[in-house]
Amino acid sequence: MNFARFVERIEGLKYISDKMELTGSRVRRYLMQMPFSTDRDVLEKHFDILQKACGILSDHNAGSAVMQLLHLFSRVHDIQGTLEALKEKQTLDEVELFEIKYFSVLCADAAKLCEQTGFTYENLHSLQEAFILLDPDNTGTVSFSIYDSYSKQLAKTRQQAAATDLATDPGLWDQLHDTIQREELVVREKLSLKLSVLYPSLQENFDSLARLEIWFAKASLALSYSMVRPATVPEDQPCVLSVEGMVNPAIADNLQKAGETFQPVSVTLNREPCLLTGANMSGKTVVLKTLALIQALTQFSFFVPAQKASIPLVKDVFLVIGDKQDQYRGLSSFAAEMLDLDRIMAKMAKGTKMLVLADEPARTTNPAEGAAILCALIEFFEKNKVMSLISTHYGDLGLSCRKLRVVGFQGTRVEGRLDPLMMNRYMNYDLVEDKGGSVPLEALNIARLLGVDGSFIDMAKKYLK
C-alpha cells in the first residue's frame, strides 16, 4: 500500500503532505507512491537519513549550499515522458535532447552540493557521458542545437542552404531544407540510441532527485512542527505503543490562529483493546485521529508530532470514524460502519498485525443493541490481541478490558455562553486509567455552555432519571 491510499484513509495525512514544500507534481507523484514500510531496518535507516537532513537544515554553516540545493530542486523539469521515450528507444526531438543535457548538468551540480552539505545518502550517477554526447563542440554550455559537427552531410547541406535565396530560388531552398530535416532526424536517431543506453542512470538520478527533495521537505516539516524521531519497537520486544505529548498539527495550527494552544496528550496501548471515555468535546476523536496519523507517519519514514514516541510496526492502520455514510450506494452511516468493521475483523481473524482506532462504534443505532455490538467488538479484539483504542459514550458495560478516560471538563464555575474554540481553556485533555465502568454525564452541561436554549435544557433534565 502506498501513501496515496493512506491519505484517503487517515485524516490529517493530507494536511501533512500539503504542508510539505515540494516543487511540483513531479515530486508529489513520487511522494504519493511511497510504500508503507513494515521493515524496521529500513525505517531506522530512513530515520538516520532524516536526522542527518534535519541537522543540515539547522546547521548555519551549511546554509549557502543547502539553499542552493533547495533552489536546484525547483529547476528540475518533469522529464518522465522523455525518459520513457528513451527506455522505449524512441527518437527524441531537439527540445527533449536539450532537456537531457540540462538534466545532466543539474545532476552534476546536485552531486556537488550534496557533497558540500555532507548529505551522502542519495547516490547520483555521473551523467558526464550524456553531456559530452550533447556537447560535441566542447562548449561546456547548457544550450543545445543539432550541431554541424554531428554530420558532415548536414554541415554541407546547411552551407548550401545558407547560400540559397528563398526569394529567387524557392524550389532549391525547399529541397535543401527537406534534406536538412532528414539529416537532422538521422542525427537525432543516433543520439537517442546512444542515450538510451544511459537510460537506467538517467531514470535513477531522476528518482534520486525526487527522493532527495522529499528528505529535505520531511526534515523541514519536522523542524517546523518540532517533531521527534520515533523509536520503532523490535519484533522480539513487547508490543507497546507509547506516545508522550502528541500534538495534532492541523488542529494545533487552527488553534494557534485563534490564539489558543493545543494541549499535548500522552497515551500507551498494548496488544489489546482499550476503551476511551470522556465528556462531549473532550477530544476523544482527536486522540484517535492523532494516533492513527502518528502510526502512519512512522511507517512512511516521517518524524512524528510528539515529545517522545515508541511505535511497534503494524501491517495496517484502521481509523473508523463512522461518518462515512454513502447514500449513493444506499448505505446509512450505521451500515457503512458495520461493513467497515466486518472487513477489518476479517483481516484480524487472519492474524494481520494492526492498529485499530474506532470512534464510538455502533452509536448510530439503539443503545441496547449498540452496546451489545460494542461489547462483542471488544471481545473479538481481545481474542485476536488487536492493539486498539475504542471511544464510546456507552457506560456500565461490565467489561473487564482496559479503560482510559479524558480528565475532561473543569469549568463548572463557568457561566454564560462559551465559544467552542474557547472550550479548550476549560478542558483537561489528559488521559487517565479508569477502573470504574461509568461514563461522565456532562452532555447537558456542555450544551448549556454552548448557548443552547435554557428552557430546552430544563425540559431535557425532566427526562433524566
Binding site: S74, V95, F98, S145, A162
Partner: protein, 338 residues
C-alpha cells in the same frame, strides 16, 4: 526613425494592432531590422493565444515572424521543432501553457517562426524582466494584442507602438476615432505609488478605497452587473478598484450614480477597458476619473493603408487624419519599409 532610440532607452516594447492584418507584423519586423542594424540584441515573443491570430479556432495560421541572426525568442516547443533555420535552445521554461512546453532559443541564422509566448500577464511580465538578466539582451519585444480574447496585457512593456490599418475599417473617421480612443486610454493618469503597491496584487473581485487610502472589500465578485456595481458604491466610498474588465455596464452605472462627478475608478491598465468609446467619454464628461496602476508609453502609431481585400486608402490623408487626433508620430508602415 526616431522611435528606435526611444525603444532602446525603454528596453521593452510591445506592438499591438487594432485588429488582424493592420500591419502589426510588418511594424515589428521593421523595428527588429532597425535594432539589428544598430547592433542591438533583441528578444521577441508573442502573447500566448493571440486575440487576432485565432489559430486554434479558425485554423488560420498566425503570421510568422522574421528573426535576425543572434535574436532570442520564446515560443511553444512544437513550433520550435518544426523550424527551418538553425537555432540553439537556451532554456525550457518551467511552466507549460495550453499549447504545451515553451522554449527560449537563439537564432543562429535568419529565419521565420510562429511565436506563441507566455499566456498571461504575470508570466509575460516575468519574461520581460528576466530576459535581460539571463541573456545579453538589449531590448525585449512583444507581439501584443488589444483584445478581449488576449489574456496578457501589453502594458507589461515600458513602451508600445500601435498599428492601425485599413483592415480594421475603410472609414478614415472610424480609424481616427478608434486611434484617439486607444491614445486616451493609454494616457489615463497613473495611481500614486503607495496605492499602487496596495492594489497591484489584487487581481480579482472589487475593492473600495477609503479617503485615507485604506482598501476595503465589499465582498462582491465582479463588476459586470449594474446591481453589483451599485452594491459596491453603497458599501464603499466614491473610490473603487476594478482589476477585471471595465465594461459598458460598469461605467454607465458609475456615471448614473448620485455623486458621479466625484467617482474615482482604479483599473490595472488601459487594456482592461472594454467599454465603448462613447460610454468611456461620457463617464469622464460627468466628472468621473479613471486611474491606472500600470502604464506604458505609446511611442508612435503605424498605419497600414492597404486592406487585405485590396482596397487602398490614401496614405497621406490617413496619416494626416490620425495625426490630428494624437500628439505622437504617425507613420505609414509601407513607406517606412521602402
Amino acid at each position: 526613425m526616431p522611435f528606435t532610440d526611444q525603444i532602446i532607452r525603454y528596453g521593452s516594447l510591445s506592438v499591438v494592432g487594432l485588429g488582424k492584418n493592420t500591419g502589426k507584423t510588418e511594424c515589428l519586423r521593421y523595428v527588429m531590422e532597425r535594432l539589428n542594424q544598430m547592433q542591438k540584441v533583441t528578444a521577441v515573443t508573442s502573447v500566448g493565444i493571440d486575440g487576432e491570430g485565432v489559430d486554434r479556432v479558425t485554423a488560420t495560421p498566425k503570421p510568422e515572424i522574421f528573426l535576425e541572426k543572434g535574436m532570442y525568442f520564446t515560443t511553444v516547443a512544437s513550433y520550435y521543432t518544426s523550424k527551418r533555420f538553425r537555432a540553439e535552445i537556451c532554456e525550457v521554461l518551467p511552466y507549460t501553457t495550453v499549447l504545451g512546453k515553451m522554449v527560449t532559443a537563439r537564432a543562429l541564422e535568419k529565419g521565420k517562426m510562429i511565436l506563441a509566448g507566455p499566456s498571461d500577464t504575470s508570466l509575460l511580465q516575468n519574461w520581460v524582466r528576466e530576459m535581460p538578466q539571463k541573456y545579453p539582451v538589449d531590448v525585449c519585444l512583444v507581439d501584443g494584442a488589444i483584445s478581449r480574447l488576449s489574456p496578457a496585457s501589453p502594458a507589461v512593456t515600458e513602451s508600445m507602438i500601435l498599428a492601425v490599418g485599413a483592415a480594421y475599417s475603410l472609414n478614415m473617421k472610424t480609424l481616427a476615432e478608434r486611434t484617439r480612443f486607444i491614445f486616451d486610454t493609454v494616457h489615463l493618469p497613473v495611481a500614486g505609488g503607495s496605492l499602487r503597491k496596495k492594489l497591484e496584487n489584487i487581481t480579482r473581485g472589487i475593492r473600495g478605497i477609503t479617503a485615507k487610502g485604506e482598501i476595503t472589500d465589499p465582498g462582491v465578485e465582479s463588476a459586470l452587473l449594474p446591481a453589483q456595481v451599485r452594491e459596491v458604491l453603497e458599501k464603499c466610498e466614491n473610490r473603487i478598484y476594478v482589476p477585471g474588465a471595465v465594461s459598458n455596464a460598469l461605467l454607465k452605472t458609475l456615471a448614473g450614480g448620485k455623486e458621479a462627478g466625484k467617482t474615482e475608478l482604479y483599473i490595472r491598465d488601459f487594456s482592461r477597458i472594454f467599454a465603448e468609446p462613447r460610454v468611456f467619454y461620457s463617464f469622464l464628461r460627468e466628472g468621473g476619473r479613471i486611474f491606472q496602476l500600470f502604464s506604458t508609453r505609446l511611442l508612435a502609431v503605424c498605419v497600414n493603408p492597404v486592406s487585405p481585400q485590396g482596397y487602398n486608402l490614401n496614405s497621406v490623408e490617413l496619416v494626416d487624419r490620425i495625426q490630428r487626433e494624437v500628439d505622437i508620430p504617425v507613420y505609414d508602415i509601407k513607406k517606412m519599409e521602402g
